[in-house]
Symmetry: D2
Subunit: 429 residues, 4 copies
């Protein structure tokens, strides 16, 4: 990538910049197809609904990720390109102040028009234009555009995960608790051993952040050094059975286990268990045992499955109850190199004890995409790993996901950590 | 109808109670068909959306009016009848505490399931069962059931009007301001003369309420006497041109014209004109003149059309500005016998200066339908007449519509009244 | 009073307009002294506190009623008069838009400055200026000013009642539930007989409203005729014992007894009994029996005392439970002429089933005082009678007090009414 | 301090544990006297008011800090001690769940009783008991109690600062904007040089946290190592003149300068300048120039004074506008050793770019005082230094103050930092 590139987030795409652009185009098409595949079995009503301000309708996600390619790639870089529909520039802008006014987020569910068919036509239009552009633009344009295209593909993958979690939340608000996917669930991701085993890491300097050998978001850089005290991290995730013990021990009724904001939330919201759990007396699906709502509808609670849909507050309270703590994001990243840690990816995102703040020397991308990550760097906590809803190829050890501490509609759980015995003294004792 | 009938609200249905029930069945079918006809040109997304807690999705309306026949007629009166789906009894109950728990009103828009196809299948099932029941039930059952069926038909007509106003509100929240009906609007209902003419009524005792010669709701009875002071009432509705003069005279900026609650609402909500009006500088559809959103999308403001979508507060402020006042519902009803008054029906509901309270001697219907009207008798104002969205055959001079004073998503306007000169002294002066 | 007087609300003051103005001055001084007497035993902290937006600090009341005399009488009518402090004109204006900007009502409790001493000095200044003005103004000025002065005195008496109820509410929010008045309460106003006796009134035309032979507010006029159906009214108030039976019969848990807005409020606010009642398990003052908080602190519930601090919703639900209803304000006024009705005054205000709306031909006072009553005529219900907190000489049968239906910090209770048997048919039956 | 002490936060008190306890007693008395001295010139009304849920009345502060000594020292450690008033245990508990139920924080302003005189009597009682206890307890008890007493003194000093900021906020809500302190302000703390000078620190391991040679709070430990990248820090605070340039450059209108939550707050709250600044057109005190409200009332804006009462959002936006950033709390602490940095203490607290999270190996104090700090460790940002309202002897370089990012009623400003040129690459670059 030439030094004039506005966003130097990728140094591995050089191969794609040669005369043969077939691989990038196929990758583009594969990612875009996957968004539509996620809609299998859903109707227009399902795709239009918005259950809370923090969630968006799937149809809006489908339009927004297309808008990203149109607004960030095609309009600035494809000569003579006109907007498909001026009104979509506003409707499908999420939060980019630099790209103009936006439709208010809490009202996205009111957009019955454009219809699903019209949004799919918009997608098709953008895809045709993108492929034509990728096939024909000159090398200089390609060098500028490809980093933005690759960013757009990762952006679309992020929204693919949100399409899953946002609609699942809407289904969870429906008293019928409908299954999204028909049929029995596959064997759930199981937490192998009943008790946690601990992996020990000694104190020392570690290097944190993306190494620049593949795509990464700006928030994963710069790569930098962090001093870690010695600690231990659990080799497995906290399971539903673990969490049930916390509940049965009065976990949701003991203020001493909770951070102050967490306890205030427990009381204000009446939390008594994770949001998709159904107590035995739940009127929506009475049973003699605990059940859990998920993609396959209501299923018996599996004690060996990882606990999910937890807020940070619940994760931290559980850790306190268990005599442990959450790892920092740096501890997690350092431990991720160890083969001993299971289920780092593909089950649930893991809350860390780290605020989502910039790395030392952090520089946002230039241009409108500079709003991608940096401006959210207060009031949120970092989650590491990835979940069963994360698209294939999107996860990596340096990935920093982030949500506010009360959020609990993601596939979010935890992995415990703890200090080494006698570690509380400083270097000078 | 035998005197043992639990709800003696109708004395005209006797003809239908003979051996030939063809007319009632055809009436049932006609009303039910009209609900579906209202959905022409709308998609499943349109029918599922809910734009505010006070409005409901059209799909919910379609299910609810069918639920009424199932819960109030079929289950109590058709032997051996089982619920179509136990869950629908809860989902489609609106506010009848006596008929069990309900789905929370503000979350009706989250019901992507049951799907539109499932709700239409439910309607079809109810229709088949109702027609079979109406054809075959014995005379004693018919005598009990027909008043409930007739109530159900008028209930469905009420919801037909709400289907129009609720979805139009959702469209009004969509920045695209889509037209519901394609093509140019028919000539609007025009207010004939530019200035109001006044019809005078002298003081005296008048008789108010339904006379029992046709269907009426319980809130229109008992028929009773009211003493009216002499007054004058406008022979025509207030027009958009009239209301524009109020706006241009600073009507929305002069606290002295408003009731205290109204002025607080103006300031809190930032009201500057009726909700579906677009000022010339409105970014959604810039123009050089005022425009109005309605069933045909955005159209130029027609100065001769009746002003609509007003709250009571706006209607009362306009009347104050115009040196007049709103009529009471009794004045309106007394004046409705006069041929001089135009547009009593079919254009806009007309706010009155009467709280929606029980008539002297009011008795609600017995049974669950007793919750139909009486329990809303505080905090609302009466509107009289009917609107362009009222189904044919549903309007009458004794009809009492009611909404809270801040509501402004109905086809609601006003007609002026005023005291006779020198009338402010009492009888003993 | 000459016909040029701007506010013709009083025809009895003529005697006061003679050369001897001693009686009016003494009346002025007596009313003003009573406001200060109400503060006996209270400290500066008590007088400064505001417990909710609907209430005001006593110190603010003390300043506001003085402001009324300054802004409405002295500044317009006393030549060369300058404001005592320009800032007080804004601080102590309650809601008169015509008299300039106001300090926001919910923030009156923040006014630690001006101090109590400064407000008392302001009172003293106004009193000296008022007495001097009353002694020396010419006859023409007196004719204009006296009606405003008399209005100001009645205005101050209204605020004297609010000083009691507002501060009592603040004390009720203090977990110490401090007594305002030391010592045991005097024998409470007792409801004589255990069961209600009924007074019957036949149908007919009655005359309602002030007859002009003494002071009245504008909202009590014009005097006009109203047709009443025959009805019965209880000769006594509903007692605490009566209301306890309602509670013990599940009154607060049965939606069928409540108006829809009332039931929503019961659920949202968690109402289980009147606000100043303490259930036996109340942690603030544990006891084996029900207790009631009041001016003398916490006292055992007296079954023979009238129930108080009820909202309209609770009054209406009680009446429904008792198989009766609330009287309209016209029924109450018509019945007030009967010697059979006890405790019309001096115990608790009595909720009526009448919205607070203008009488036919109502005209507000002219000038700024026109905002006194008329602009509140929506969203409120009328209470009739007077309470133990009403100053002597302030009550009359035509008096219309008004509060929103959820208000429950006044001395507000109820008296039952009911239709005559067989009365539900109309005249044409 | 013997190793059996439950809270090993202090190793310097050993001298006090000898037979002569005069110095600790004198220190106790001096701190306690200072709280009362802060009330000079204030009336009972001033001391009772609460202007927002985040603030408390001064009277409540006075009671609460006495409660701390009673509940944490006297009742557990003084044999046979009975509560002064059982009710005060609840009224004056702030947030210690382990010490029983509490009075709700937003309603502290309603506590007109106990009166100021009663609270002062309570203070006097506690002081007498404390001095007697300190004089007479045995050595073992002293060893347990002294750390709690010392904690209580630092706790009282924290509340001394809040007494200043909380009441100043109440005064700022009073449209009279009264001065707390009469007379002209002393020369304000001046920021010497017009432009910032930068102090450079090279990358490396630094040691952070209290060294145990004096009192510190638990949140300042354990002392531990942190790796810092090289950076520069401003030798002076940001001044009002600096901040005025930000405002005049449209700082409050440019979303690109703000974190997303900050911009949402700017829009929701209508922020246009720091909260105690008065624009020239401010109706409360019109002037031709900017003014600032403070302890001496309204004064002309001093461009050389440090800007204060900033939220984190405003501090971060200013830093972005200035092409710099906020320092982390570790950078601040490392730089505090440098003589080049001015005004580290005594002017304004300085927002850092660090979330208030536990240090590695953090252990809260044992017992009820364990709730002192740890449970607030989410959702807040660290401020370093101290302010003009911080009592003498309370500040230190390792001190961690913390507030939510929107808080702006403290004496809170900022000091800039920036990365070294070319520092954004990682070690392997």
């Amino acid at each position: 990538m030439p030094p004039t590139s506005p966003i130097a987030v990728d140094r591995s795409g050089d191969a794609a910049m040669g005369p043969d652009r077939q691989a990038p185009i196929e990758r583009y098409q594969a990612v875009r197809r996957h968004s539509l595949a996620l809609c299998d079995g859903l109707g227009a009503e399902d795709l239009c609904v918005q259950s809370m301000p923090d969630a968006s309708p799937v149809k809006w996600h489908l339009g927004h990720v297309s808008w990203f390619f149109e607004a960030v790639v095609l309009l600035p870089h494809a000569p003579g390109r006109r907007p498909y529909d001026e009104r979509y520039l506003r409707l499908f802008n999420s939060y980019y102040e630099a790209l103009g006014p936006r439709h208010p987020r809490p009202q996205r569910g009111l957009l019955t028009r454009p219809t699903l068919a019209e949004v799919l036509a918009y997608r098709q239009h953008v895809d045709q234009a993108m492929v034509a552009f990728m096939q024909s633009c000159d090398a200089g344009t390609w060098a500028l555009a490809w980093p933005l295209i690759e960013l757009g593909l990762h952006h679309e993958q992020q929204h693919q995960e949100l399409m899953r979690t946002d609609l699942l939340h809407a289904f969870s608000c429906n008293p019928l608790l409908p299954p999204w996917v028909q049929g029995a669930p596959p064997g759930p991701g199981r937490v192998a051993d009943p008790g946690p085993a601990w992996q020990r890491l000694e104190e020392g300097l570690v290097t944190i952040g993306a190494d620049g050998r593949g795509f990464h978001f700006d928030n994963e850089s710069p790569r930098h050094r962090v001093w870690l005290q010695g600690f231990e991290i659990a080799t497995r995730l906290v399971s539903c059975g673990d969490f049930l013990a916390f509940i049965e021990d009065g976990g949701y009724r003991r203020p001493g286990l909770w951070l102050s904001d967490g306890w205030a939330t427990v009381q204000a919201q009446g939390w008594q268990h994770p949001p998709y759990w159904l107590a035995p007396d739940d009127a929506r699906a009475p049973a003699e045992h605990w059940q859990v709502f998920g993609l396959h509808g209501v299923q018996p609670l599996d004690r060996h499955a990882p606990v999910s849909q937890l807020s940070f507050y619940e994760a931290a309270a559980y850790a306190e109850w268990a005599g442990a703590r959450l790892p920092t994001e740096f501890e997690w990243e350092a431990a991720s190199a160890s083969a001993a840690c299971h289920d780092l990816h593909g089950q649930v995102w893991q809350w860390t004890r780290s605020a989502y703040h910039p790395y030392p020397g952090f520089k946002p991308l230039s241009g409108a995409v500079g709003e991608y990550n940096g401006k959210f760097m207060v009031g949120q906590l970092v989650l590491r790993g990835s979940s069963l809803a994360t698209p294939a190829g999107h996860a990596r050890h340096t990935y920093r996901n982030f949500f506010p501490p009360a959020a609990r509609w993601q596939f979010s759980g935890l992995r415990l950590a703890r200090d080494l015995p006698g570690a509380s003294g400083g270097p000078a004792a």
